[in-house]
Point group: C2
Chain length 100, copies 2
DNA sequence: TATTTGGGTAAAATTTTATTTACCCATTAT
DNA sequence: ATAATGGGTAAATAAAATTTTACCCAAATA
């Protein structure tokens, strides 16, 4: 299967879970730490990390890493990418004409 | 969970399978019977029927039913809906502002 | 010092999806 | 008459995704 189909499938799968849609909605306008996200969602740490991984992997969520020199720890902030539109007909036409 | 979120999830789940993307691509320009679809995909009948159900349920694929009076049988033809675009940012903003 | 908190991993358990198998019926072809 | 074809359902099985559990570490706090 082509790269582009795999990318599209990853995108659609990432969007196929209510919690992940909520995470994207939360991080629309300002970046949030996983702690802040978790407070709103009330889910376990491993579960949140797993959801976040899928969103970042699908290029829906951006991760900014900050290094706190004082405390020698890394802090991660998440923000939803902007202008997310999917032209489905275009994707399907590419699949049909074997462009991808 | 709201109706609209459930509808969106159904849409994304329907799009999360390579075979279903192929079916949509095939039925872009002309309607096809399940027989014609199956010939191209080489999958079992029950499996195709299951995929088609999900696509129709997600309102991605339209089904036209024809009744052949001579032979007393129904024939079904499938065609992908047109102008399928998903405004993800808009959906997420609705979720955020609890409009849905 | 013992415990809580933030952030994380690995693996087991659970749930959901996908796929196959075994059927059904009616029509057409051998 | 028998086999093949189109179209379908129900249930069992296989595979994939989700969620929990049990851990790890370092820093802050009671």
């Amino acid at each position: 299967m082509s790269e582009e189909i795999e990318r599209s499938l990853k995108l659609f799968k990432a969007l196929s879970h209510p919690t992940r849609l909520k995470i994207l909605a939360m991080c629309l306008d300002k970046e949030l730490s996983s702690k802040e996200i978790r407070r709103s969602l009330n889910i376990s740490k491993p579960l949140l990390i797993s959801h976040i991984k899928k969103l970042v992997d699908a290029e829906l969520l951006e991760c900014r890493v900050e290094f706190d020199r004082e405390k020698s720890i890394v802090r991660k902030y998440y923000k939803t990418k902007e202008n997310l539109t999917i032209d489905l007909t275009d994707l399907l036409r590419k699949i049909k004409t074997k462009q991808i």
